[in-house]
């Protein structure tokens, strides 16, 4: 831990400002070598920002703000500086390179968090949350990760643990004082307490779907026969010309994936090659890919040409929509409407015109509603975002199912308590109370431990 480490901590995408973090014993020494503050007074103050220039070989590289954190009041509990410089890969890399040349080494992924953990700044669940923060795609998922960082999940698990402990202490009192008239644990009391646990766990387990949406977004697939305007709709949602749009059928030969952000929730939109019979080998591959995307989609946008009557190909597509959440888009309403609404099997539909920008805003709302995102976005409850946590919760629910069965079979209470205890052990793996090195190595595999 003697090394001083540095890395670009802002995302690599194009932004106007970027940050390079330096942490370790030699931090201030390195900064002094490369940073010339406007205010020449050579004084380092806690949590102060200084304005100046990064100068390398007597050449001014960038105009920057440097914030100082003196050990132990910093994220890693070491001396830390953060250089706020102009964004863009070139300038960030250049400054990082200068820092490295002056005595720092490149930080491993997650190494700042690892140091924060090893220096006692954060505990294991928080460390895990840091990883989630790093991987968060949108603000909503970042919020969730931060909630966990603040202990939200830990509290939730704590509530459940308290009930489990309650049950166990009742059982133990019965066992340790067999002759005393301690109230016998009745099955009714036991079951009602188990129900409380079960409900809480199931709620948590369900929240994972939300968590997954927050983290990974929902999948939307646009389908429709060629040249009904699928790619135009994608572009309209993206607000930029990304997919190639022509009048030639089958232009989109591959599926195109793009992310948009609807009210803070990531939405992955897949524009497909169109679904139809084709002899063109290249197009065939595209169609196959479209079908795969279709199968895993959360919401389908089915596009039809409102200026034409439905044909055989359209009807084939309609048939496929039966078990899917679908929004039917009747495009090209700027032309004469010829489509027969009665043929749409009572499905939800929306008239739009990409060309005239009709109905695009409403489309976003519709997607939000159909995908039930309201539920996801509005809930203030703790949400499971981490797959490891989800697996533990599912295991605990499975354990509970076994326990109910055992009670039915009139298994002795002491034997049942073993499984109840196991729930406590399992939940402890989320909060870090049950320390097993598997868990730790699983978490820190993302921190590249052991180098």
């Amino acid at each position: 831990m003697e090394d001083t480490i540095a890395a670009i901590v802002t995302s690599s995408s194009i932004a106007s400002v970027g940050i390079i973090r330096v942490s370790g014993k030699k931090t201030f020494e390195i900064i002094e070598k490369i940073f010339v503050p406007i205010n020449k007074i050579n004084k380092i103050e806690q949590q102060k920002m200084r304005y100046g220039h990064i100068v390398y070989n007597k050449e001014v590289i960038d105009e920057v703000l440097v914030s100082y954190f003196i050990s132990p009041i910093s994220f890693t509990r070491e001396n830390v500086c953060e250089i706020n410089c102009h964004g863009g890969t070139v300038i960030l890399n250049k400054i990082l390179d200068i820092v490295l040349q002056n005595g720092a080494r490149m930080a491993e992924p997650g190494e700042f968090s690892k140091r924060a953990f090893l220096n006692g700044r954060i505990d294991l669940t928080q460390a895990e949350a840091v990883i989630d923060v790093i991987n968060a795609k949108t603000e909503k998922s970042l919020n969730q990760a931060q909630k966990q960082l603040n202990g939200g999940l830990k509290n939730k698990i704590g509530e459940i643990e308290a009930v489990v402990l309650d049950i166990l202490s009742d059982i133990e009192a019965n066992i340790d004082y067999p002759e005393y008239d301690v109230e016998e644990v009745s099955n009714n009391k036991l079951i009602s307490n188990l129900d409380i646990i079960n409900n809480k766990l199931i709620k948590l387990e369900k929240s994972f779907d939300k968590g997954k949406i927050l983290k990974e977004g929902i999948n939307i697939v646009i389908i429709g026969k060629p040249n009904v305007g699928k790619s135009s709709i994608l572009n309209a949602l993206l607000g930029e010309e990304r997919a190639i749009v022509t009048n030639v059928k089958g232009t989109t030969r591959d599926t195109i994936e793009e992310y948009i952000n609807i009210k803070g929730i990531p939405v992955k939109i897949v524009d497909t090659a169109g679904i139809r019979e084709s002899n063109d080998i290249v197009e065939k591959i595209g169609i196959e890919k479209s079908m795969q995307a279709f199968n895993i989609a959360d919401v389908i946008l089915a596009v039809f040409d409102a200026s034409k009557e439905l044909d055989e190909e359209d009807r084939n597509i309609l048939c496929k929509l039966d078990n899917k959440k679908t929004i039917i888009l009747l495009n090209k309403v700027d032309l004469d409407k010829k489509i027969n609404i009665n043929e749409l099997n009572n499905k939800d539909y929306l008239y739009i015109s990409v060309k005239e920008n009709i109905g695009i805003d409403e489309l976003e709302d519709r997607i939000f509603n159909v995908a039930n995102l309201d539920n996801v976005a509005g809930d203030n409850d703790v949400i499971l975002v981490n797959i490891r946590h989800k697996n533990i919760v599912s295991k605990s629910i499975k354990q509970l199912t076994d326990i109910y069965e055992d009670i039915n079979k009139k298994t002795p209470i002491d034997i049942i308590s073993i499984k109840i205890m196991e729930i406590l052990n399992l939940l402890g793996e989320i909060t870090g109370k049950t320390v097993t090195d598997e868990v730790i190595s699983k978490i820190f595999s993302k921190f590249c431990l052991g180098k």
Binding site: L118, L124, I175, Y177, P178, E179, I415, E422, G432
Partner: protein, 628 residues
């Protein structure tokens, strides 16, 4: 005047339940041993309840027996009533308990000590322990006899600076009117042993002839007497009765009116008492909404009319005690022969000990029983045998015997004492054992006989019998697992008879046994190849098959536990230098110097987060070692 007396390998100070086991273990392992008691009339005395066993304590007795100890055999010899408790709650917590003839228990144990080769029994008060170059060298009696010795086992019980409290009266005393040990305390402090005060208490004894039993519930022993010792077979004996009565509002009112006269409440007693075995005034004051408390009346012996009033321990003045006792149904006219009292005594903080019960800073000095802050005869005996065995093994230059938490209640007990320590008299409880389905009283021999044999406390003969039993169990389990039961008319009739669902197709006999309503015994009705097997073998077979799934869960838990136990902490580790762990944890770890990461995780004040840091620290430490 001091004089040079004999020389021994081991000197045991105190001949209570800890001292007796310690001395017998050393002597039986071939060491020249001496045991001292202030009064030989107090060897293996039961100054409190006249019973052995009970929840988790019965487990300890069985384990001590499996290691080659004496408590189980002695309890069988002096049994007045025998019961298996908790039989409705699952096999892990079945608990054997006997009422004992107190006098006979003492006499028999004394006789066993006297008959033991290599063991001298002496009436003397030890006042000093000589330590030269940080090593124990001798013990000195009050008269001045100096006995050279290689190891000392301290098992002083409640004698060390003992002080008895009865209401406003208090005086220096050991239990039961025996005088206390006084000078030893100061000399222990001089050699670096820190002492603190604990307290315990005992109820009154009353004359049986003055009790009206017609107002009480009778409690009988079990029809089938199951012995504690694995060496003994089931036997028959006329059993004594116990009785149950209750306190009432009047009792509670007398206590409330006089509570200011209890030295516990007025603050005169500074020692900390046991929460698990509270005095009657504690119960009434702490559980104010409880309308009544149970009181058990238990016999003290065959040749005495004294009865023990369990649940009525008290430190209130004698005249208040009389009123309290007389308020209870059936005790209205009882004659108190010995009043209830509280006793305060010196003991140590047991975290200064290794799991061998040897003092970390004074090699050769071992501690066992109440001096370590425990309570209970069985807890004492368990520590006694562990201290004795380890003192002997060390002198012989052999590896120590340390039982871990997954092997025995004894392991849980010792680990709790030396790792967590205790702030009140420590009582064993089943809930303290994480892996209790594996640590049953029925399989204590399977868990520990091997070890007892290896250290030399179990004879070859007993060992061979044990191996035979083990083979029988394994063979029978295999047979039942291979045995196909066909849905014949006889089988279906059998199942209907026991309200069990009938078969659609063939099933293994072992699967049938897993049904809650079916047991091994009744399966005999459809088992065509059933062998005549002893009761204990059948019991084992039944439990192992019936609870196979749960046993597997616990074995998996043990595997996880062992994983951390196997991660040994380097001896040269300086915890103050590890930044990631809390300040409190650093200090505790440095003081305790845990053997393994597992032990570290059980130290109070060391959080899971600290352990996570240590885990990573260990990885890096290993890395450094390998690289450099």
């Amino acid at each position: 005047m001091k004089y040079e007396a004999e020389e021994y390998d081991v000197a045991v100070i105190g001949a209570g339940h800890a001292g007796c086991e310690a001395a017998l273990a050393c002597a039986r392992m071939g060491l020249k041993t001496v045991i001292f008691s202030i009064s030989l009339e107090c060897i293996a005395n039961m100054p409190c309840n006249p019973n052995i066993g009970g929840t988790s304590k019965g487990h300890l007795v069985r384990e001590i027996d499996a290691l080659g100890g004496e408590i189980g055999k002695n309890a069988d010899r002096s049994m007045l009533q025998s019961r298996m408790l908790n039989t409705s709650k699952g096999p892990a917590v079945y608990s054997l308990r006997v009422q004992s003839d107190r006098k006979k228990y003492h006499q028999d144990m004394k006789h066993v000590l006297e008959l033991e080769n290599n063991l001298d029994v002496k009436q003397a008060q030890i006042v000093d322990i000589e330590v030269i170059d940080d090593k124990v060298t001798a013990v000195v009696t009050q008269i001045g006899a100096t006995y050279k010795t290689k190891a000392v086992i301290l098992a002083t019980g409640t004698y060390l600076m003992g002080r008895i409290y009865i209401g406003d009266v208090n005086y220096e005393s050991g239990p039961d009117g025996v005088f206390p040990a006084k000078q030893l305390s100061d000399n222990l402090k001089r050699i670096g042993v820190e002492l603190r005060r604990f307290k315990t208490g005992t109820p009154a004894r009353v004359n049986k002839r003055s009790i009206d039993f017609s107002k009480m519930e009778e409690q009988f022993g079990d029809d089938e007497i199951i012995p504690f010792s694995f060496e003994n077979k089931s036997y028959e004996k006329e059993q004594e009765k116990c009785y149950l009565t209750y306190t009432n509002e009047k009792t509670h009112q007398i206590i409330k009116d006089n509570i200011h006269r209890s030295p516990l409440y007025s603050g005169v007693i500074k020692g900390i008492g046991p929460r698990y075995c509270p005095s009657i005034e504690d119960k009434v004051m702490r559980f104010a909404d409880k309308e009544r408390h149970q009181i058990f009346i238990e016999p003290m012996g065959e040749n005495t009319e004294e009865m023990y009033i369990q649940g009525m321990s008290s430190s209130l003045p004698e005249e208040v005690q009389i009123k309290i006792y007389h308020s209870i149904s059936g005790l209205e006219h009882c004659e108190i022969m010995r009043p209830a009292y509280a006793i305060e005594y010196d003991c140590i903080d047991s975290t200064v000990l290794y799991p061998t019960l040897e003092h970390k800073k004074i090699p050769g000095l071992y501690f066992a029983g109440q001096i370590n802050g425990s309570s209970g005869y069985e807890e004492a005996a368990a520590q006694g045998i562990i201290a004795g065995i380890n003192a002997a093994l060390k002198i012989k230059g052999r590896e120590p015997l340390i039982l871990d938490r997954s092997e025995a209640y004894i392991g849980v007990l010792v680990d709790d004492l030396v790792t967590k320590g205790t702030n009140e008299p420590y009582r064993m409880m089943t809930s303290r054992a994480e892996y209790r389905l594996l640590l049953r009283q029925d399989n204590a021999d399977i868990r520990l006989t091997e070890k007892g044999h290896e250290i030399g406390l179990i004879s070859d003969e007993r060992y061979n019998q044990f191996i035979n039993k083990k083979n029988n169990i394994e063979k029978e389990i295999l047979r039942l697992k291979a045995y196909n039961v066909k849905p014949s008319e006889k089988v279906q009739e059998f199942l209907k008879k026991y309200n069990s669902s009938i078969l659609d197709s063939g099933i293994k006999m072992s699967e049938l046994l897993k049904r809650t309503e079916i047991n091994y015994k009744i399966l005999g009705e459809i088992d065509e190849n059933r062998l005549e097997l002893p009761r204990d073998v059948c019991e084992e077979v039944e439990i192992e098959i019936k609870y196979e799934g749960y046993i597997k869960i616990q074995k998996d838990q043990v595997d996880k536990f062992k994983h951390l136990e196997k991660k040994l902490m380097p001896k040269d580790i300086d915890y103050t230098k590890i930044k990631g762990i809390s300040l409190e944890a650093r200090q505790k770890l440095n003081n305790l110097k845990p053997v393994s990461l597992g032990q570290a995780s059980r130290i109070s004040g060391v959080s899971p987060s600290d352990i996570a840091v240590l885990l990573i620290y260990l990885e890096q430490y290993k890395g450094k070692k390998n690289n450099g």
